[in-house]
Symmetry: C4
Subunit: 220 residues, 4 copies
Amino acid sequence: MNTVANRSIFRLGESETNRVEAFSDGVLAIVITLLVLEIKVPHLSIDDDATQWAALTDLVPTIVAWVISFVFVLVFWVAHHYLFNSLQKVDRGLLWLNGLFLLFMSFVPFPTALAGEYPATSPPLVLLSGTMLGAAASFSAMRLYVLRGHGLIAANAESAARLALRRSLIAPTLYAIGLVVAFFEPWLSIAIQVLVPGIFFLPAKATGETHRSRAPSARD
Amino acid sequence: MNTVANRSIFRLGESETNRVEAFSDGVLAIVITLLVLEIKVPHLSIDDDATQWAALTDLVPTIVAWVISFVFVLVFWVAHHYLFNSLQKVDRGLLWLNGLFLLFMSFVPFPTALAGEYPATSPPLVLLSGTMLGAAASFSAMRLYVLRGHGLIAANAESAARLALRRSLIAPTLYAIGLVVAFFEPWLSIAIQVLVPGIFFLPAKATGETHRSRAPSARD
Amino acid sequence: MNTVANRSIFRLGESETNRVEAFSDGVLAIVITLLVLEIKVPHLSIDDDATQWAALTDLVPTIVAWVISFVFVLVFWVAHHYLFNSLQKVDRGLLWLNGLFLLFMSFVPFPTALAGEYPATSPPLVLLSGTMLGAAASFSAMRLYVLRGHGLIAANAESAARLALRRSLIAPTLYAIGLVVAFFEPWLSIAIQVLVPGIFFLPAKATGETHRSRAPSARD
Amino acid sequence: MNTVANRSIFRLGESETNRVEAFSDGVLAIVITLLVLEIKVPHLSIDDDATQWAALTDLVPTIVAWVISFVFVLVFWVAHHYLFNSLQKVDRGLLWLNGLFLLFMSFVPFPTALAGEYPATSPPLVLLSGTMLGAAASFSAMRLYVLRGHGLIAANAESAARLALRRSLIAPTLYAIGLVVAFFEPWLSIAIQVLVPGIFFLPAKATGETHRSRAPSARD
């Protein structure tokens, strides 16, 4: 009977985190898909093949900006996925931090469109780096909050979470640098925006550990 | 066997509320993310940095309107989350009230865009306050409906729900005042729109209680 | 062991219907929320209050079209919700019929915008009625398909489903009439579009029965 | 106790695949619904019925492009649904491949809008075929990855998955041909885009088998 009760509580926590995950997934899925709406169909007076190809070539910066932001959102979706997988429940504080994270994420389409319209100029890249900084910093804040003993994280996931927190400070640091250099060297800022997700792609071990953490707590 | 049967019924109710939650989450996630589409990329004939910064400065009211509406939708998403967490099933009446709530919520992007285009003038703020009033009032109506004995609410969640209902009347009252003052003092109306979510951020106790209510009913 | 196996199969079916429901809910939630994007912010050269109010008054037909389509999508979401609740699994045939239904549903924003732009004229109302007819007819086709013995429906839900099928033929019939009269009497077509969801709002018994049908099958 | 542990692990895997499915479903549902936004309401100076009908007739290529892309996304959603149903867990590699697949899928609205604007000309059809090729190829890559022994696929689903992989190479091959012929014979490229989903509609057996594969693994 005790086991049933425990399982019920566990499941309650799970269903709670599930709904926050579902809402966040919804927002992130919409952001990632809306990005394409900023690539506008060119309206040409002459529409032979050559003119169309030229118009499409003009869209290359917009498409590059789209890919950068797509990968950015995807990387944070994966990180969000692993973070919430290591939680056994959520509380109001985490809900609001998550809301702040989503505020920055859902702003992404605007500076992305701006960067596509005015490629390699300062203002759009300052705004884009600032948005990415805000998203990355609020994500790190969630990791920190979770570790500050509100009983949100599964006990056996703590050491992995501590490691993940330390690693997760890399992204906001780099985006802060990207924000500053965007004022002087737009291309360097773009390079940083390409680099950061690249870092996330490589080392899968630490966060992978966080991921498997729920199984043991369900097993006993 | 009895326990299994009871649990099945419980789970049925849960899966039912889950789908209404999922649909509502979907709508709210889309609304909150669509808001950004109303921030339009400025098309400039001269695109040096100074002109771009000036154009971005012109967008500040639009961005403020975006943040206000973002927080508005987020606050009601959290409230919706806690309300449906305290339910054991939904019926048709609640489905329609929820539909009315979603009607107002999904209208939000339009007055938000209007308020960004014509900042601090009466008509957009009348429309925005009216939309927020409609959403808040239909949300209170859901709280009331749930308490009117259709067996929707978990027994042990009732007293907390009664408290939450009383508290939930604050928002529509303030938005009604905001609607009236928008005709005369647009800035006062904006102040109210900033204030109301602020109230929701602070006291987490009453609704937190509602939240934990499902555990005991699952335990027996 | 047998019971466990049976439950597993049951759950498998449930998880299957869940994903189709989730995808359909996603599409319907997006459709219902996208509708508002067709209400465009008026761009005024003079922006005093009187001019703004006049411009908002001009938007009334667009807002009426938006409400009609919103209610249309909501009613079909509720109907879809109850239909899939009475199923124990889905097959490919149903997936494709559901796809056809979603094709018509996701087209709704276009004729809605058209009807708002050219109010009470024939072409938009012909297109809108045609789209509603297509959606309603493909929904009835799903009801019919489910009853044609592919083992999709829970045994004890059959009689209720038969009743629901008979009732569900009312909507396509009325929309077919609406389509024809739209060529001659646009207002009569609008009246039908307002009327049909009204019918769905009233009698909750038959479909309510379908709804409860899953409980007994889970109990034994 | 062993059974409970096993089931927990199984459920963990299931809940993991569930969230990737939910995110992918979200993206695909949004893509499929956003497509309609590219059908723009014509703005006419004279708005009598004849002018409106003429304007709607001009939209036929746009609507045809919309239907082709809608069916394309739907077919891949169904394929994605069956693929993930045969998995017991996901890993990072699959997450990134799935991300690549979603990148191509979420790009679809742009070439679709382009093909509607400049019907039966080369550039849009090259871009659309290329996007479909990218999506189809990354989907086949997922099928291949899953079979390469990362323990993702349920043991009893392997033979069906091998068959499905062989079958799933047809689509990228045909889209590659469509891409090449789009440079010379736009209509032939359109014919291929209509043909490929048609192939998917017909033979339901092989993939159907994959589908049922989860039941036995849940039973023991």
